[in-house]
């Protein structure tokens, strides 16, 4: 997937403006951490290189290797317990791993000189259960990390936060608390919260699995929009219809191994491994996650209002 070209004078803030954030000016040449080489367009954004992880004697991940290019949308799927969550949590070092290396935008995750909070601040993550901060208003949820982590002023943070809130169609809820919003709305706020940090990569761990079926669409819509804008995304999901429509590549995991890593046409057309075939036939039959979002539905106009990209 190619990034939509951005005009020089953007009127509205695009959802994904990793390339345009002013503070990137100083950061970019050094990648996420000063001194490390930056990823040029089209280059590898996430390199997962032979990682293995154990919980005690139990091996969760076995020699996983894959790459995610800048602007690419990669779906990670596989049976429950296959290590999908663990794998993406290794990318921003929420989970440590014992073997191998992960490099995000030129910064090594396992390295003494890596400033982990700084690395994480540029890797957005969206969780199955939203994890908004229930004691803070929506506005404060959107601004707290901008102020504490990036050191932005209260006004700048608020402007950026409200901008993104508008982009996910929730301006009216700025002063509410997370408990007052529906699941779908909370998840959209969570996406906006991650985007407020100007991430270079977005990770999603089953972002729609905890939602009522009627709310799945509104969250997927935001993700589609994000993908269109060229955000690099790694998404764990069971929404195979969505994957088929939006993904560039599909990674299939089973028992801690990456069993298949293929372009989506190949994966859905003719999965090579038997395990992937079994998985696909099961998930398409079961429809555990509500009606799978089919291709036709996704090509229809968004159900939520997302401001159009500035174009000319």
């Amino acid at each position: 997937m190619t990034a939509t070209p951005m005009p020089e004078t953007a009127v509205t803030t695009p959802i994904a403006d990793a390339d345009h954030a002013p503070e990137d000016a100083g950061l970019r040449p050094g990648g996420l951490v000063y001194g490390a080489p930056a990823a040029a367009p089209g280059e590898t954004m996430i390199a997962i290189d032979g990682i293995s992880k154990w919980y005690g004697d139990f091996q969760v991940l076995t020699n996983c290797t894959t790459k995610v290019a800048k602007g690419e949308f990669v779906v990670v799927c596989g049976p429950s317990g296959s290590g999908k969550s663990t794998l993406i949590k290794c990318v921003n070092a929420l989970e440590p791993f014992q073997k191998g290396q992960i490099t995000v935008a030129g910064t090594k995750v396992i390295d003494k000189s890596t400033n982990l909070p700084k690395l994480r601040s540029r890797v957005g993550m969206v969780f199955q259960h939203f994890e908004l901060f229930p004691h803070l208003s929506i506005t404060d949820n959107l601004t707290i990390a901008q102020r504490k982590v990036l050191g932005r002023s209260a006004e700048d943070a608020k402007k950026r936060g409200l901008d993104l809130l508008a982009r996910v169609g929730l301006s009216a809820h700025a002063d509410k608390f997370p408990g007052q919003l529906s699941g779908g709305q909370q998840q959209r706020v969570a996406i906006a919260r991650a985007l407020a940090m100007n991430p270079v990569v977005m990770l999603f761990d089953e972002p729609t699995s905890a939602l009522d079926p009627e709310m799945v669409g509104e969250v997927l819509d935001v993700m589609v929009e994000l993908a269109k804008e060229g955000m690099t995304m790694m998404v764990v999901t069971h929404e195979m219809g969505f994957a088929r429509k939006v993904a560039d590549r599909v990674i299939f995991m089973d028992r801690g191994e990456i069993v298949e890593d293929a372009r989506k046409e190949d994966f859905f057309g003719s999965p090579r491994s038997e395990r992937a075939q079994t998985f696909l036939s099961k998930i398409l039959q079961h429809r555990r996650y509500g009606d799978p979002i089919d291709t036709a539905a996704l090509s229809q106009p968004s159900r939520i209002r997302i401001l159009p990209m500035p174009s000319r």
Partner: protein, 230 residues
């Protein structure tokens, strides 16, 4: 039958009872509560930190405080600290520690231990996902604690927290072993001077009861008002 009693003594000694006794009790309660909250939170964090030496130390401290009789420690501390202090600074004569300071240190130390346990439970009640979300946004351990975890833990705790402070208020009466003039000591001094034991102790009991009853009532009223909606 009550004619044998002289409740007038209460009236005449009110300024002494409240001006000295109650002021002492409240100062000790408030100062120990504040100190205990701050130090207790730090102990709870140390205990949850997983850092080997620190974790063990915090646990040992809490266990120690739970396993010794409090009155003994108040007593013991009052007589021992001057010598420890003298030893620490290399002085030959025991250093002067006022009775109030000594009581304050002891109460703060114990309050910290009890509070650490409440706090630890409070922190552990916050879902792990909240920590993950805060860290994923780039927050450091300290930022995660102060901006995300502790504010939620504190909000879930008020009933337990305030009940603990009410108990502290009652417990401060134990300083009578040091012959201090708290709200227990003051009436007892008048009682002995004027031979009005029943009147004075009855009055002290009524005042303690009223304050604690009202405070408990307030705690119940507050309950639910603070709880974070999920």
């Amino acid at each position: 039958m009550l004619s044998n009693f002289d409740f007038g003594v209460i009236l005449t000694s009110l300024p002494y009872l409240f001006g000295q006794g109650m002021v002492f009790t409240l100062s000790l309660t408030v100062m120990a509560a504040v100190g205990g909250t701050v130090i207790g939170t730090l102990i709870a964090l140390a205990r949850l930190s997983g850092i080997p030496g620190l974790w063990h130390l915090a646990k040992a401290y809490v266990e120690l405080c739970r396993s010794v009789p409090f009155v003994l420690v108040i007593f013991w501390f009052y007589f021992l600290v001057p010598y420890i202090g003298a030893y620490a600074i290399g002085s030959k004569t025991p250093i002067q520690v006022g009775a109030f300071s000594s009581a304050l240190i002891t109460f703060t130390a114990f309050e910290a231990a009890s509070f650490a346990e409440i706090m630890r439970a409070g922190i552990q009640s916050i879902p792990k996902g909240q920590t993950a979300a805060a860290q994923a946004l780039g927050m450091t351990y300290w930022q995660t604690m102060t901006s995300v975890i502790l504010p939620q833990a504190f909000r879930n705790m008020p009933p337990l927290l305030l009940t603990q402070k009410i108990i502290l208020f009652q417990d401060t009466s134990l300083v009578y072993v040091l012959s201090l003039t708290d709200f227990m000591g003051a009436p007892s001094k008048i009682a002995q001077r004027d031979g009005r034991l029943v009147e004075m102790y009855l009055f002290a009991a009524v005042v303690y009861f009223t304050i604690c009853f009202l405070a408990s009532f307030l705690v119940r009223r507050l309950q639910g008002r603070f709880a974070v909606i999920r």
